[in-house]
Amino acid sequence: MRCGVVVFPGSNCDHDVYHVLKHVMDQEVSFLWHDEETLKGAELVVLPGGFAYGDYLRAGAMAALSPVMAAVKRHAEAGGLVLGICNGFQVLLEAGLLPGAMRRNQNLRFLCQDVYLKVERNDLPFTRDLSLGQVLRLPIAHAEGNYEDSPERLDALEAAGQVVFRYVQPDGSPAGSDGVGDLWNPNGAARAIAGICNARGNVLGLMPHPERCAEEILGNTDGLAIFQSSVQFGAKVAASGYGGRR
């Protein structure tokens, strides 16, 4: 599968995502510079973590307006796969490709730690290798991961099945939510939401970093399935002739 990793000035997980796709998944990967207007034929586009343009405004706010994002939007509208991780998720929110917004973490501090996620959708191109209700352990590293939206829109998001990952306790029982940040939902995200997709299911954003736990030597491979699912989906699509080379 041809994969593209977007590089904004200030992206700092671009090499990590590239490494997993290229060396762990053995895929064809290229970097997509922020001022490029095409995606060089990428079928899976990943927006990596980091601090795009320094994030001196709101996280992701400036990146959402970069030339490459116009191409990413077209790609998403055509049904192409877009995965936003951490800062990439923030960019997708700011670009309007996913609903809602991020506030600063409940305790107003950057947090780097493992969290537990419950899988609520396993029918997406990104999650087909996961099982429903499965609990994943993934690391987070962010200062703005406190997902927020109005109660009505959160209801609608849940009703439409767009919540893909939720922070939970290690045994899968619910974490605190609705602004009550606790040990298991440390950034205080509304309804403990950690990752969401668009209505069509081809755009996924999540705060934790699956690329940081995709190799045995790092002591955790819980993130690998997300890349595997995406790549396998790509292979199937290619075999069926759908999509083709854009």
């Binding site: 700092n12 990590d16 501090r109 950057f110 947090l111 780097c112 590293a141 790092l218």
Partner: protein
Amino acid sequence: MTVLQEPAVSPELARSQGMTGEEYERLRKILGREPSYTELGITSALWSEHCSYKSSKIYLKEFPTEGPHVLEGPGENAGVVDVGHGWVAIFKMESHNHPSFIEPYQGSMTGVGGILRDVFTMGARPIACMDSLRFGEIDAPRMRFLIDGVVRGIGDYGNCVGIPTVGGETGFHPSYNGNILVNAFALGVARRDKVFHARASGPGNPILYVGSATGRDGIHGATMASESFDAGSEHKRPTVQVGDPFTEKILLEACLDAMRTGAIVAIQDMGAAGLTSSSFEMAGRGGMGMRLDLDRVPLREPGLTPYEMMLSESQERMVLVARRGREEEVVKVFRRWGLEVAPIGEVTSTGRAVLVWHGETVADMPVLPLTQEAPVYRRPAEPPADLALRQRAPEVPVSSDPMGDLRRLLGTPELSSKAWIWRQYDHTVRTNTVIGPGGDAAVLLLKGTPSGLAMTSDVNPVYCYLDPRRGGAQAVAEAVRNLACVGADPVGLTDCLNFGNPEVPEITWQFREVIRGMSEACRALGAPVISGNVSFYNETEGRSIHPTPTVGMVGVIPDLRHLPESCFLAADDRILLLGNREGAGEFGGSAYLRLLHGIEQGLPPAVDLAAEARLAALLRRLVAEGLIHTAHDLSEGGLGVGLAEACFGRRMGATVELPLAAEADLFSETQGRAIVAARPFTLDKLLRAAEEAGVPAWEIGTVGGPDLVIRSGGESWKATVADLHEVWSTALPKALGL
């Protein structure tokens, strides 16, 4: 045309910039005339303690700087060691104490920024940071503000640039109430044949300025860092630089890209004393001269004088020498990253630095006499008058409640969990972190090879205060032990030598003795010094900090397959105490005496370097052969604290039987010891290996259950791991009032 209005130069003006009368005379002699205002500013910065090492140079010569892995020792921006498979590690540690005390957030930010530039300016991609922090008592004035600011600054900078902060240490002691320490370490990796240097060569080659424009921040920062604090130090805030991690990140990527063009001859970051030290050092190292056209220096605001341009410490700037005719290739790379780049001059063969501004020569000075022939002092050294009193053997109070004392020790900020701090640092970015903060040593992948890099930072300032020579040796020995616990062989160390005012004989004596102790340990344990930094004048109103020679040591683990952890992993594992038990009962400078009984007295524990070498070799062998699950070094707080820490990782208890002479021996800080745990059936092999290595070993207990149980002489003490963990993990945030 603007006419330069500058103060008249005089010995008095020189004194106000930190130059002595003799130094002023020396400058006049070198120039053969009175210096101009700009020349005086340049010289006072170059000859400041911070830049010239004038009080430390003669002692630093004692360090062993060569070893089988060392490719480049002290002298460049950072040291270079061979770590195998065609890779080198480039690392250094540097202090940012004074700025961090004045303005903690910007001070610590720019400390991290500066050390990262030292590493990537040599062509290495930074892959890890550590920070060694010393704060005063948490209730001291401004201390909570300082702690919060320093931690936020380190986090905001490293997190944004995307370099994991994988280790470090944090201590608290009243001697830092008026002068905190922020020591930042960075390590990068490069291919062995792709290391860059800051040596100008090739007359006619253009000098390029890249990165942020120059502003008025940090002017005379180096001079400020070479003075003591007094009550009015608040007014020094404008001498603190302001950091911009985003610019650093793109500067890092742009520099690494530009280096690949092959069009760069030499490159150097602008750190302390900004454009002055970077250009003079680069020319000096290459035995060259230079001509700088100051009208071409990118400025944040108009109207900066040559003096301000040369002394500004605006951050995220580099100066480089390009190959003549190929400068466009370099310029293109920096433009692509949206960075300012300007040709500001050229290399000359005259050996002189000529600075031109508005058509006028504002400085014309010989480079070498200013850089390599800076003044050198052998300051008088004398032990403190009360040394005998300090070292008098203390009365060691009996511990009537050893488990209660352990609980109290674990609840002190000093010995408590530092997770509140390191959770705010991204320690997993770059996907190399095998063991992050909280263990004995951090371990990183050397991607594409079976090997790993291990790193640790260590020092016990109380030991150094009570006996600087022993303290210096102990810091090195503990670092070697920490590396050995993950199976790593040391390849080199960097240091940050934080001391008081060297003009006070006691301080110079401390400095000399610490270096003596460190050098002895470095030689005995095979850990050469490859880079480092000296920070003097860490005192406020005449009160000096404890001598704090922070050691940052790096080692190589040949094979990561059998890496043990610092905590207990499996029930029924047998626990062994390795190393010196004979000297049990050494309490001088111990956490037990200091934190529970307020006694800071006595000779610190003896350091037996030969025994340390044997222990380290044994530990490395046990790891290499995959014989152990757990290895944990014993240091502050002794065996009691070491056992509790080993229980915390997986919340797994242990039952141990100790032949204690006295209950308090649980907290003795006898050196050269570690605990290991392994499957019962490997016990014989372990004991045999220990015997072969000449390391005493005792089976002291078994892993398992919810409690830590300690038995001795028919008595038994017990606590739940959950309770001890709660005390240990919440102590720091509680003390900070969070």
